[in-house]
Symmetry: C2
Subunit: 342 residues, 2 copies
DNA sequence: TAAAATTACACAAACGTTTGCACAACAATC
DNA sequence: GATTGTTGTGCAAACGTTTGTGTAATTTTA
């Protein structure tokens, strides 16, 4: 039946002592007598007293809350990430305010505004695909609230970020194929305007040149990542004068499309052609025809790392100008996972 | 360089007017002159003033925040749900405080406690598998904060909840198979202690009896949902005197295991045996050998619905005792999705 | 032209909690 | 027995904002 939550005042009045004494008693302050402490705590328990965090946060000017803005919560990469973020926040006694931008720059801007008004102690964000102005982010920085970028990093100087190194992952992947004896390795890459495509390309080239092989641009196709686009790329490869014996695909969806199409042409997967992909999808391991290896980006781990950095920034000793000007640029190495029994 | 955010006080001092005037001016109160309003708003903009929501929430005793506790954020069912929840919260101008229990009853209890201290205006929760005491939930109810249960509903009276009707979905699924001519339909069900297993069973039986067929208990196997358990169940079916021509599986993972095993025995999927499953996994549509139909539970829609109900409860007119005693028990109908080109 | 109504603002309390400071009571020290 | 030290408690300010009430100055009404 208790309508309003119990306050410290009520306890004070009932025990006929001052609120400050009650406050100190509950916080085990040394200057409060043992008897009083006991009395206060007993009464607090009886009345189901629970400190009003909003009041405390307001008073202390700290919300003990981090804001998290992600493009799409239903995407497995981001849901794994938020899981990691929440785990760290929980561990370090912070609270998570969550929002999704749906890859809409306007909504994102609004959300950032809201987070600021909510006085979050820090912000963790993976910017939307459509974001192309960055003033609101700069404004956020000016407000002295730490901000850590995650996975999708805006092209801005002097920021903290956590991202995966797709270049090294791709390098490993192509290297793996080269060591297996492949010499003609095709890549179905993404659109050229994505940083992710460039990183994959660079990793590919590095691996080839490290084996003293020349980079053949005709073996790297840019694809819109749709099924139709994938089939087109596959046709291109299959009719190529240098028909690839192995193919690296931009992501698991592309791998699926490619494998499905190849099978329809009676090509034996991982025999006629080896496939390697990037692990975006948790299910892929359960499937019949899967890539022989996969570049894992560890979104859960990345989320944890980003949250840890953000909380470190929040709790860093103030006024240390040396630290103030240092930026975390953490690259989580991606790793080539070679399928079991393959 | 602005260290602390601008306050209403500073604006007041700079303009040499009172804080109340500033507050009213910013809120377009009628009793403030036009000139003053303009001056205040201009100054507010110049100083990048943003109202301190924490202060307002504290003052008004409302946090405009809903707490969401889910077992596992990385699970696609829940990540789809949280996406729906966030969308509704955003639309209705609420903020989402997110936490995951990892199916740990103790952690869940602690999180509920925290949510209460954070003074969330309402709580949306899918209880953990290990939760078996419900006093903390009752305590939450007593605090007059509305609470809506989602998907995993505790066995408690007088609660609001949103869940999917697996019975009707299963009924539809089995009915679909019956209409296709199947008469021997096997079911790989889950453990008997799950409500979800019972619902599936009931739907199965209903469909059979509605076709004047007797329920054969030997065609319904309980399985621990692992790959080994699934294979065991499949062996059982394949050696059964009434070998099923169609099989309903508890979830997509079980379907995958079963289909993979069947294929290894050169059984033609959806020809020798038709499979029907439940849509937990987004990827299933992209696969080669998939169930011919799937019971969709619409987690995104369910999340939206649950959030809408919670916000309705939060904003319902007070003191209306008739409404106070009414409980939302919303069952979102699951739906049989029949695979394309099948 | 005096009374009434309107306009435009200021004052102060309130929300729940923490915390610096003051101060009383008592014990210990010289 | 005066001084210092210790222990336990209360007072009041502060955080940023909203809002009820008070009150001048101005305008309208009779």
């Amino acid at each position: 039946m208790s309508d309003k939550p119990t306050t410290i005042k009520e306890i004070a009045k009932l025990l006929d002592i001052s609120v400050s004494t009650v406050s100190r008693a509950l916080n085990d302050h040394s200057s409060i007598g043992l008897i009083t402490k006991m009395r206060v705590k007993k009464m607090a328990k009886e009345l189901n007293y629970e400190p009003n965090q909003r009041a405390i946060q307001f008073l202390q000017g700290k919300s003990h809350t981090i804001g998290v803005i992600l493009p799409e919560l239903a995407e497995s990469f981001f849901s794994a990430a938020i899981s990691g973020i929440e785990d760290i926040a929980y561990k370090r006694n912070y609270t998570v305010l969550l929002a999704q931008s749906h890859d809409d720059a306007d909504r994102e801007k609004l959300l950032i505004e809201k987070m600021k008004m909510q006085r979050v102690d820090g912000l963790l964000i993976s910017v939307s695909k459509t974001t192309n102005t960055y003033e609101h982010l700069e404004a956020f920085k000016k407000s002295n609230i730490p901000i850590v970028f995650f996975d999708r990093i805006p092209p801005v100087k002097n920021i903290h970020f956590v991202a995966s190194n797709l270049e090294s992952g791709t390098f490993e992947a192509v290297n793996f194929l080269l060591k297996k004896g492949h010499r003609t390795i095709g890549m179905i890459n993404g659109p050229t305007n994505l940083v992710a495509s460039t990183e994959r390309k660079n990793g590919y080239i590095k691996a080839m040149t490290s084996h003293r092989l020349k980079f053949d641009p005709s073996l790297m196709l840019n694809c819109d990542l749709t099924e139709a686009g994938t089939i087109e790329a596959m046709d291109n490869f299959l009719n190529h004068k240098r028909k690839p014996t192995a193919i690296v695909t931009f992501n698991d969806y592309v791998a699926l499309f490619a494998i499905r199409y190849a099978r329809s042409l009676n090509i034996e997967i991982n025999k006629d052609i080896d496939f390697v992909s990037y692990a975006n999808l948790p299910l892929i391991n359960y499937m019949d025809y899967t890539p022989i290896a996969s570049v894992e980006q560890f979104p859960y781990k990345q989320g944890k790392k980003a949250a840890d950095i953000l909380l470190d920034l929040i709790n860093k000793p103030k006024g240390d100008s040396e630290i103030e000007t240092a930026y975390y640029n953490v690259v989580v190495e991606s790793e080539l996972i070679i399928g079991k029994d393959k």
